[in-house]
């Protein structure tokens, strides 16, 4: 068949992303990002350090609402059953891959399939897959908690970003691009989640205690950035994040071409759209 050799220029997206869904997704992403990076940009009036200590607890309640609203909006027009089944199966594979890596020095195996699937099936599919993969894996391992919505949103961004990469690139260039994306995403994911955990684990600076690495509510952007930079460098960038980037690179290099071909064949057979 000549179809096989022809470059795949345009795959139809399995989960439609209309202008309204795009707007909701953008708003939710802005709000979500603010809830991740708040320690760096929050400006607290002097004398109300208590309020800064409360912010993460408020966000714990807001984040699930945000994720639920976006998911409801993405499926608002109805998702056809082939895409539902595909999402379910890929989420199951991701959930099975996750414990394989956890615990072994930053070997994170979830992201490579998420990146490849997002690339093939488009940004909407990637977003939903990121959410459902992490949710399934949390249900399977009984790991549901306040951290889950944050992880879901971060990995949903990874899937969506992979779907938004330029469509024209094919062949080896495509693999190279995906490897690069995998590395960037591995570090970004680590930094974002660290930023969310940071005020919890290192503590918030208060009157009676000023730790060298904890969050400073009335500190400037640079001051907090410096503290966080040292914290994240010491605790995770060198170990976990690099391990994650390496896993992504190796998995995409070794399995990427074959997995992409398999996913595209399935997409053609299912003929979305």
């Amino acid at each position: 068949m000549t179809v096989l050799s022809a470059p795949v220029t345009r795959e139809r997206s399995a989960v439609r992303l209309g202008p309204r869904s795009a707007l909701v997704l953008t708003l939710a992403s802005v709000a979500g990002l603010a809830m991740f990076v708040w320690p760096l940009f929050a400006s607290v009036a002097p004398g109300s350090a208590q309020r800064a200590g409360e912010a993460p607890f408020v966000f714990m309640a807001v984040m699930p609402v945000l994720v639920l609203v976006v998911l409801a909006e993405l499926s608002e027009g109805g998702i056809d059953s082939k895409a539902l089944a595909m999402l379910g199966v890929l989420s199951a594979i991701n959930a099975a891959l996750r414990p394989l890596g956890a615990g072994t020095a930053g070997l994170e195996t979830v992201f490579f399939l998420l990146v490849l699937a997002g690339r093939v099936y488009g940004p909407g599919f990637g977003f939903v897959l990121g959410c459902t993969s992490l949710f399934t894996s949390a249900l399977v391992t009984a790991g549901v908690g306040p951290w889950l919505p944050f992880q879901m949103l971060a990995s949903a961004w990874i899937g969506m970003g992979a779907g938004l990469l330029p469509r024209r690139v094919t062949g080896r260039a495509e693999i190279a691009m995906l490897v690069g994306y995998g590395i960037v995403v591995a570090y970004l994911f680590g930094i974002l989640l660290n930023l969310y955990y940071w005020p919890f684990l290192a503590g918030v600076d208060v009157d009676y205690y000023a730790g060298g690495l904890s969050y400073l509510p009335d500190g400037s952007l640079l001051e907090n950035l410096h503290r966080f930079g040292v914290y994240t460098l010491l605790t995770s960038t060198a170990g976990w994040d690099t391990g994650r980037a390496l896993t992504n690179t190796i998995a995409i290099l070794v399995l990427g071409p074959a997995v992409l071909a398999t996913l595209r064949r399935a997409a053609r057979r299912a003929s979305y759209g």
């Binding site: 603010a34 499926s75 059953s81 989420s91 009676y208 060298g212 070794v254």
Partner: protein
């Protein structure tokens, strides 16, 4: 028991825990939660994961205290021990490694860590007590598709292991014993193919049973839900900004966050109206469920009241070291949190999983 009841109970307790750093209250709370879990959990795999949450909680406390010892615990006047300080290069200016360790710093870490640990234990209790499969069944209509995806994933999950075993057996029969990347590829790709193949079969089966089908929605209703969702999200964005910007008026923060969440929530419920499905044997809210939720909310309210009346007892001072007080309202509130151990029915003997799967498949679109 309805799984939502356990979750609401646990969220109430976690909210209460977030209001206090009093170690005595937090330890009583943890003990109460553990009692309920021991009395009312079944023998399912998710119930056994509670132990992991206790370890995680211990780890958080250790991490918090350890952090204060390693990275400068010198604040405060009561020095416990002087460790040799390690000089750091310039880029880490302001960061101190070891050095003097004061009682104030260690206690600060301990109290904060205990608060977080108590919240983690509450969440772990909900994970152990609530059946995740029944929770999925109770998904609201707006998440019908997402819920279906997760149900599919949960039922495909066990088949993957079987698929891997089959592919490996086939490889052995062909005499392939290689290792390394090539072998990985020859296992992963067939398993993926198998799973995708299965997903297409599943989709055909779902089509014939009416899954993934949704009713017609009038354009007016669509416009309304869209407007509500977007307005709600805008409200949330501004509310988050007001939370973070100290110069923004305080009275903006709470109404905007709550209002935004409410408006988005109404849009969410309206979005769900398009799905017309009936449920096979739905979990009902009965007295036991309501009591459990009431206990959780009661504890949260009790702590909120205590914080109003006597804030110092909930957040013991660290500038002058004294034993933490034991406020009476707080202790009474904590008695309430153990009540579900007595007032709810004991967990039914787990019927085999098959039953659940059949029940899930019987949810038919009307």
């Amino acid at each position: 028991m309805h799984p939502g009841a356990w979750w609401l109970w646990a969220i109430g307790l976690a909210t209460a825990a977030s209001r206090t750093t009093n170690p005595v209250l937090l330890l009583i709370l943890i003990a109460g939660v553990c009692t309920v879990v021991v009395c009312r959990r079944g023998d399912a795999p998710w119930a056994r994961a509670f132990r992991l949450y206790l370890w995680l909680a211990a780890l958080i406390v250790a991490f918090r205290v350890g952090f204060r010892v390693v990275f400068g615990g010198g604040e405060g006047s009561t020095v416990l021990v002087r460790l040799p300080e390690i000089p750091l290069p310039d880029w880490a200016a302001g960061v101190q490694l070891f050095g003097a360790v004061s009682a104030e710093a260690v206690l600060g870490g301990l109290y904060d860590g205990l608060r977080l640990a108590a919240m983690v234990v509450c969440i772990g209790a909900a994970n152990a007590l609530a059946n995740p499969k029944r929770l999925l069944k109770a998904m609201p209509g707006a998440l019908y598709e997402t819920g279906t995806v997760v149900v599919v994933a949960m039922s495909v999950f066990p088949q993957l292991a079987e698929s891997v075993l089959r592919v490996r057996a086939a490889r052995r029969l062909r005499g392939e014993i290689g290792r390394g990347p090539r072998a990985l590829k020859s296992i992963v790709i067939p398993v993926l193919e198998d799973a995708l193949e299965r997903s297409l079969l599943l989709a055909a089966a779902m089509d014939s049973r009416g899954y993934g089908r949704s009713g017609r929605v009038a354009p007016g209703v669509r416009l309304l839900t869209g407007t509500l969702t977007i307005t709600g999200l805008l409200g949330l964005c501004v509310g988050i900004y007001a939370t973070l910007d100290g110069s923004a008026p305080r009275h903006l923060q709470v109404p905007l966050l709550v209002g935004g969440a409410l408006v988005a929530g109404i849009g969410f419920v309206l979005t769900g109206r398009r799905v017309h499905t009936t449920r096979y044997r739905p979990d009902r809210w009965q007295a036991a469920e309501l009591i459990t939720v009431g206990c959780g909310v009661g504890v949260a309210a009790g702590f909120w009241l205590t914080a109003r009346v006597d804030p110092a007892s909930l957040n013991p001072s660290l500038s002058d070291l004294t034993w933490p007080q034991l406020p009476l309202p707080g202790v009474l509130a904590l008695v309430v949190c153990v009540l579900p151990a007595l007032l709810t029915p004991p967990p039914a003997v787990e019927t085999p999983d098959r039953h659940e799967v059949v029940a899930q498949r019987h949810e038919v679109s009307a």
